[in-house]
Each structure stands twice: as structure tokens, then as C-alpha cells.
Amino acid sequence: MPELETRIREWKRSLAIALGSSGEILEELESHLREEIDRLTQAGHAPDAALTAAQAKLGRPADLAAEYARAVPPARWWPISICRTLLVLLFVYFIWKFVVPGFRPGGNVLLVLHVAAVVAGYAAGFYVGLLGICYVGCWLIHPIGLGQRRSLGRTLFVANAGAALLLLLGMGLGGVWAHDRWGHAWNNDPREIGTLISLLWFTTLTAMLWTVPRKQHLWVLLSVVAISVSVWGWFGPSLFSLQLHSYGLNTTLLYLVVVCTAVPLMVALLGLLPPGRLRRQPT
């Protein structure tokens, strides 16, 4: 019955995507499914019909994932702590180096706060992307457990919401500063538009994580792309902007933008592969 086995494999794969797990849970559910298929075939059902009936009795993968999500408490996932610590250290360094001097006599506090808020917003965006990359890495070798997925979902929600709020604050402060200085808050500057696009990206992801949490795998992959969006929003305008934010264009920046655009997109595409794809399968 090779066709039956193919259908069971496909079912297991969709279950793995919904549950984010390739471990014991899948084995247990598969064992249950096979028991039910055996019972139904012994009762005279055709194998295909037995599989369809057994799948229906077990429930849709998304519903199963929702049941498990309610049953499993959040569990610690080390990349959350490591990436957070790394970014907080980088942010503190940035504040010390570039923001603190702005509070000295003659510095423009509003402008400095605008820069700090925007940098913190983008840093939160990079945090989201880094977590997504770690998730995809695990996905390809050994997907993280349900409890860890719950922690990741919560963290991504907070980080995306934080990124959106900080970028909004930064844009607001920048607008006030620009209005005081030039009489208009918005200049249609490429970097302003880039920040606005990033803000919309993070806001959309926050809304999706809140309203459709069962599609978490998709939102995590889009979180990886957040790195590309942040890099384009932050550094991209320097490549062609001739206005307010046209500082800092150099070859290193060009490479940075190209690499930070291509790599996350590739990682997000890898996340579309079946779970455990890079793990050596037992024969």
C-alpha cells in the first residue's frame, strides 16, 4: 500500500508544520492513526477510506495544534535569551557612544531621542529576525517543542509590537524636530518612507501573531524577512537618497544591504522545506 503510506507521510508533514514538532507527539498520533486504520480495514473498509475516516476522527492539524497549545505551558528557548542579551549590549553601546553626547550642552535632545527611538525600533526588528533564523535552523534539524514555540510566539509578539511602537515614537519625535526646524514634519524622504514601511511591516506581523496565532510558522518566516525590511528601511535609502538622510554611502554599506537582504530571504525560503530536512534519517 505505497499510496496509503504516501498519504500518511503527507498527513504527518502537515501535522509537523502545524505542531512545530517532529518528536514524540507526532509518533504517538501516527500510532493512533494506524491503530484506527487497522480497526476500520478489519471491519471491511477500503484502506483509503479508512485513512480518511481516521484522519477525520483525529481532527484537523490546526485544531490539534490549538488543543496542544492550550495544554502545554511555555518553555525556555535559549536563543531568546542569547539574542536579547546581544542586542541589549549593542544598544547600550550605541546609546553610550552616540546618544549620551547629545545631552551635553549644545546637543539637540529631541533629535537625539528621535535617533535613539528609531535605532531601538530597528534593533527590535533585528531581534525578531534573528529569532526567526534560529527557529528555521532548528526547523531543518530538529523542530523546537510546543512549549518553546509558545515562548517564541509571545516573544515575537512583544518584539514586533515594541519595534512598531518605537519606530512610531521615533517618527513622531523626528517629525516634531523637523517641524520646529523647517516648518514641516514630513519630507517624503526615502528614509522616512523606509521607516514607515518597516513600521507597517511590524504592525502587520503583530496583528497576525495576535489574531491568527495558529499560523505561527508563517509569521516566523516573515519575521526573518523583517531583517531585510529593516536593513532597507534603515540603510537602503543611503544608496540612492539625495536628501536629508543621504549620509554614509560606501561599499561596505552596499555589501551589508545586499547580504542582509539576500540571506534572510534565503533562510525564509528554507523554512518552507519539510521539518527535519537536514537531519540524518534513520534507515
Partner: protein, 114 residues
């Protein structure tokens, strides 16, 4: 009572005491637990098969049941569950709580204990 289906909330609320009580009888695995509940209730407690496993998972995380993998006679891997000491204590509490509900309702409805 024939053909009566229990509401979802009541099915969910009774899942833990039912699972713990069944495991009090001895070690068992998911498929059998579902069949036993169906048989004992005369088909009136109809669990979706997928509902049981998250409950077992949670009970295991809470330390109320423990599990082990074994291979059936047909060569299929099965995860067997057994009641832990904490599970026995939790079941005793559940019995008391459900007895309170049962006794109260029985008095209210003017029925006598069987």
C-alpha cells in the same frame, strides 16, 4: 438518554477525572483510553480522538501521569501512560469534588443514591 450528546464544556471538564480514573485501573495508551470511555459511557461521551493527547501531555507535564514507549505485539510503537503518586492524590481530590457536585444535584433533584 438515548442519543444524548454531552455539551463540549462538560466533556472537557470531565476529561481529567476520566483519564485519571481509567489509569487507576492500570497502565494504558491513548487509543484504548478513548475506546474505554466510549464503551463505558455507552457512546454518549464522544471525544474527538485528538482531544485526549493534549490532555495526557498536560497531565504528564504536571507530573500526574508518567509515560514509557513500548512495542505492541503487532510491532507498533505505543506510548503507555500510568498514574503517578501525585496523580493518585489528584484523583482522590477529583473524586471528592465530583462527589460533592453529584450529591448536591442528587439532593436537588430529589433522587436517592443508587
Amino acid at each position: 438518554m438515548m442519543g444524548m450528546k454531552l455539551p463540549k464544556d462538560l466533556v472537557a471538564a470531565s476529561a481529567v477525572p476520566l483519564v485519571l480514573s481509567l489509569l487507576e485501573e492500570g497502565e494504558s495508551y491513548g487509543y484504548t483510553i478513548i475506546q474505554r470511555v466510549r464503551d463505558l459511557s455507552g457512546g454518549e461521551i464522544e471525544w474527538t480522538d485528538g482531544m485526549l493527547y493534549p490532555v495526557l501531555h498536560r497531565l504528564e507535564a504536571q507530573g500526574l501521569v508518567r509515560s514509557r514507549w513500548d512495542v505492541s505485539e503487532a510491532g507498533r510503537k505505543r506510548k503507555y501512560y500510568a498514574l503517578s503518586a501525585a496523580g493518585k492524590r489528584a484523583l482522590a481530590e477529583q473524586k471528592e469534588q465530583w462527589n460533592v457536585v453529584h450529591t448536591t444535584l442528587t439532593k436537588l433533584w430529589g433522587m436517592s443514591h443508587a
